[in-house]
Structure formats: C-alpha cells, structure tokens
C-alpha cells in the first residue's frame, strides 16, 4: 500500500466512525461535535487559532532549542568529568522523581503569565531525555576506537570531538526525537496553569464558554503542530546521522 493511501485511510476511518457516533448516538454538539462542525469552527476561527498557535509554537521552539542545548552541554560535561558525574548525576536522577507538571504553578507564580514560564516547562521536560540519551551514547564509544586514537597521539579533547561525539550522534538523535514530542506537552501544561495566550489557553477558554467545537479544532491544530515538529526534528536527525554514519 502506498504511503499516501495509508495516511488517507488512517484519517478517513476514524473520522467516519466519529461522524457515525455523533449522528447515530444523538450526542449533543456541546458534548461531542462532529468532524464537519469542528472543521467549520477551525475555518471560522482561523485567525484566532493561528495567533494562539504562533504563541505555542514560539514557546515550544524556544524550549526545544534551550532544553536540547542544555541537555547536550550537560551530557558532554558528565562524559568528560568523573567529578561532575559523581556530583551531578545523582542530583539529576532526584530531579526526575519530581513530576515536572507539579512545578507548573510555581513557575507561573515566579515568571508570570508570559511565555517564559512555558518555555521553562518545555525545557524542564525535554532536558533529561536529551541529556540522558546523549550521555549514554558518549559513554558507549567502542573501546577499540579510543585505543586507536590514543596510539595515534590524540588529546582527550580531540578524542571527544573527533570520535566520541560523532559516535554518539545516533543516541542524541533518539533523545531529540523524544524531545520534539515532549516539548509541546510542557508548553500546554504551562498554558493551562496560567497564560494570556497559546493553544492550551484557547482550549480552556473555549471549554469555559462551552464552545466545544472550537476546543476540538484547537486540539486538532495542536496535534498537527506536534506531528509536524516530530517530522521536522526527525528529518534533521536523519541528516545528522547520515553525515556521521
């Protein structure tokens, strides 16, 4: 089966079931609006949704860059310094025992309703998977390559840059792919707790006004945004791995 046909089927079957559920089940539109109604809401509110999507996308991209950057730096620091491993690693594990979601109200309290509390949420949520997967990759360089490099007279810095980092790129890529899906979760949680804009904020607003069709339309846009981001990061990762593999 061709790729396009598969996508169409994967979309068409659930949509048909959804419409059938609404039509045959007699559900009122404020409980479950049908797909046609959701698409209508999407079209008539396109300006509003686009504006809020822009805010969420900004938060997600900023969070992704900052979180991935911090994660990469942490992984390198841990890989080159046994002292850092000794001190920082247990602390890293302990921070993971805190549910990041529980921090959202505190971040909003400290940073207000603007985009920064959401960016920090996204950073917190993706930092660990990126740092952890890249660090694992850096520590699993095939020992023979390191032996070879040492007999060739490589300094530790050149071993890191020329051998360990390129060898760990596939691990970093899997961390980044996870991060692309997690980052929107962080941003939306932040928006739910307190925001003046963004898709999460718009969903709450629509829910409060019983505009369930708008809520579904927003959710649809959020899902599409996440999918696109996942594809874009996946594409970038594939290019990166192809360069090093």
């Amino acid at each position: 089966m061709s790729g396009a046909l598969r996508v169409v089927l994967a979309l068409a079957v659930p949509l048909a079931l959804w419409q059938a559920l609404v039509s045959l089940g007699g559900l009122p539109p404020f409980i479950l609006p049908g797909p046609v109604r959701v698409l209508e809401a999407l079209w008539s509110n396109r300006g509003l949704i686009a504006w809020h999507a822009g805010i969420t996308l900004t938060e997600v991209l900023a969070g992704l860059f900052l979180g991935a950057g911090l994660g990469i730096l942490t992984a390198i620091l841990l890989a080159v310094s046994p002292m850092a491993r000794y001190i920082v690693r247990p602390a890293l594990i302990v921070t993971q025992s805190l549910p990041v979601f529980a921090l959202a109200p505190i971040l909003t309290l400290w940073m207000g309703y603007g985009i920064w509390s959401k960016i920090v949420m996204a950073v917190l949520i993706i930092y660990f998977p990126v740092a952890s997967s890249f660090f694992d990759g850096l520590m699993r360089t095939p020992p023979g390559w390191l032996d070879l490099g040492r007999t060739m007279g490589a300094s530790p810095a050149r071993l890191l840059w020329r051998i360990r980092v390129p060898a760990a790129i596939p691990s970093l890529a899997s961390g980044l792919r996870l991060a692309a899906v997690y980052a929107p979760i962080g941003a939306v949680i932040g928006e739910w707790v307190g925001a003046a804009g963004g898709l999460g904020y718009l969903m709450l607003l629509a829910n409060g006004r019983v505009k369930i069709d708008l809520m579904f339309a927003t959710l649809l846009v959020l899902a599409l945004l996440t999918l696109l981001l996942h594809r874009a990061v996946g594409w970038a990762c594939d290019r990166l791995v192809a360069r090093t593999d």
Binding site: P142, G144, W145, D147, L148, G149, R150, T151, M152, G153, A154, S155, R158, L159, R162, I163, P166, A167, R243, T244, D245
Partner: protein, 243 residues
C-alpha cells in the same frame, strides 16, 4: 620514519589476586617480525597493550624498554582484530585519521598514493559500509602505514578474514611493513610459521621461544620447512593445553 628500535619486555602481570602470566621475557628484534602465539586468555593481548601504552586493567610488575633508550609510546602504530574504521569517514578520511586527531594538516596526496598502492584507488571516497571485509582490513593497513611509525603492533588483524584473503593480507603486510619492528599477536600457528622471524609461545605458565626455519620470513605457505614448523607449533600449543 626514525630507525626501528628493538623492544624488550620483562615482568609479570596480576589481575587482582589472580596471576595473568608468570615472569616472562619477550625480546623483539629491531626491524623484524616477532610473533607471540598462544591460546585465548593467556595474556598475549595484554602484553601488546602494555607495549602500546594502552589501558590493560592489570597490575604489571616489570619493565618495557626500547633498545635505543627512547620512550615507546608515540612511536607505535596499532592494528586490531577488527578494522576500527570510523563509519562516518570515507576511506581517505580514515587513512588520514591520525593527522586529524593530532590537529595536524593531513598529507592527502601521500594518503591517496598509499590507498592506490594497496589496490583501493577506486574506493577512496567510499564509506567503510560500502567495502568488503578484506578491503576494510586493507584500509586499516593503509591507515597503519600512513602513521609511518617504527614500531607496529598487530593484534590478530587477519583472523576475521577467509583463508585466501588472510594469505593475501599477510603478504601485503609483510611487504609494506619491511624494516619496522613488528609484534604480531596471533593464535594461528600457520600465521606465526609464515611471518615470524622470531616466534614466542605463551600460556599461563610462561613463555618459550620456538626456533623457526632458516629461510627468512615471509615464508611460502606451501614450503615444507614452514609446514613442519607449523606442525611443531600446533603440537606445542596442544601440549600446553593438555598439561
């Protein structure tokens, strides 16, 4: 290349409370091939790594000296059982890896000459994944030669190749490494019989030297004296394991 030194290792190694090998003396003559033959786990790779200055995880008591009194690390090229080619570099990149790792400009023209000399000319911009096992090991040999070190340490570099490619590689290595001090660690009596100017047999009880045929290495694979020597080495290995 600076003149190839002789190397002498004397000493014993422990792994915790366990003795890896008893006091041994290994004399590697300058500019010739010495083979260290023994079963897996007898410590022969450890000896090679000790000479290379690599991490061994054992407690070595003894000394490793070059005949000219200069330090050995920095004068060693190393070739392992696997080709250790970096998959993200092409053949040229792998052959010039050493310069890259030292932050020195790579002599691309010399590398290309060397690659062509080893019959890899058409593959110069291919990645290792596009090469056969024999071609990959030839790239590893080119990388070793590019280092142009007077001492070459070979840790069973041909053991993963089929019989024909192994014989080809042995001849190519013998020809291209002429004049260098070579230590070849192997578990193959045939390989030691063909390549060794001196042959040392090792097991957990220690090391003895076997006297090779008068004809100099590399010896013909079908030479009767070499075959007889191979037979004696095999018998000695089996006697060791039976004891």
């Amino acid at each position: 290349m600076t003149p190839a030194p002789s190397i002498c290792l004397t000493g014993t190694a422990h792994f915790g409370a366990h003795q890896l090998f008893p006091p041994v003396q290994l004399e590697i003559d300058a500019g010739t091939w010495s083979c260290l033959l023994g079963p897996s786990g007898c410590g022969k790779t450890t000896i090679l790594r000790l000479i290379a200055g690599l991490e061994t995880g054992v407690d070595f008591q003894g000394q490793i000296r070059a005949g000219d009194g200069q330090p050995i690390p920095g004068r060693v090229a190393y070739m392992a059982q696997t080709d250790l080619l970096l998959p993200w570099l092409d053949v040229l990149g792998n052959v010039t890896l050493g310069a890259r790792l030292r932050g020195a400009p790579a002599d691309t023209a010399a590398a290309k000459d060397l690659i062509a000399r080893l019959g890899l000319g058409p593959h110069v911009h291919k990645r290792p994944s596009q090469l056969s096992g024999g071609q990959r090991q030839r790239v590893a040999l080119a990388r070793t030669l590019m280092e142009d070190r007077p001492v070459v340490l070979l840790d069973e570099p041909f053991s993963a190749l089929d019989a024909r490619r192994r014989a080809d590689m042995q001849e190519l290595a013998a020809e291209t490494l002429t004049g260098r001090t070579v230590l070849l660690v192997t578990h193959d009596p045939g390989e030691a019989a063909r390549l060794g100017d001196r042959v040392f047999l090792m097991d957990e009880r220690g090391m003895v030297e076997a006297v090779p045929p008068a004809v100099s290495a590399i010896r013909g694979a079908d030479d009767p004296d070499t075959l007889a020597f191979q037979g004696r080495l095999l018998a000695a290995l089996r006697a060791q394991s039976a004891a």
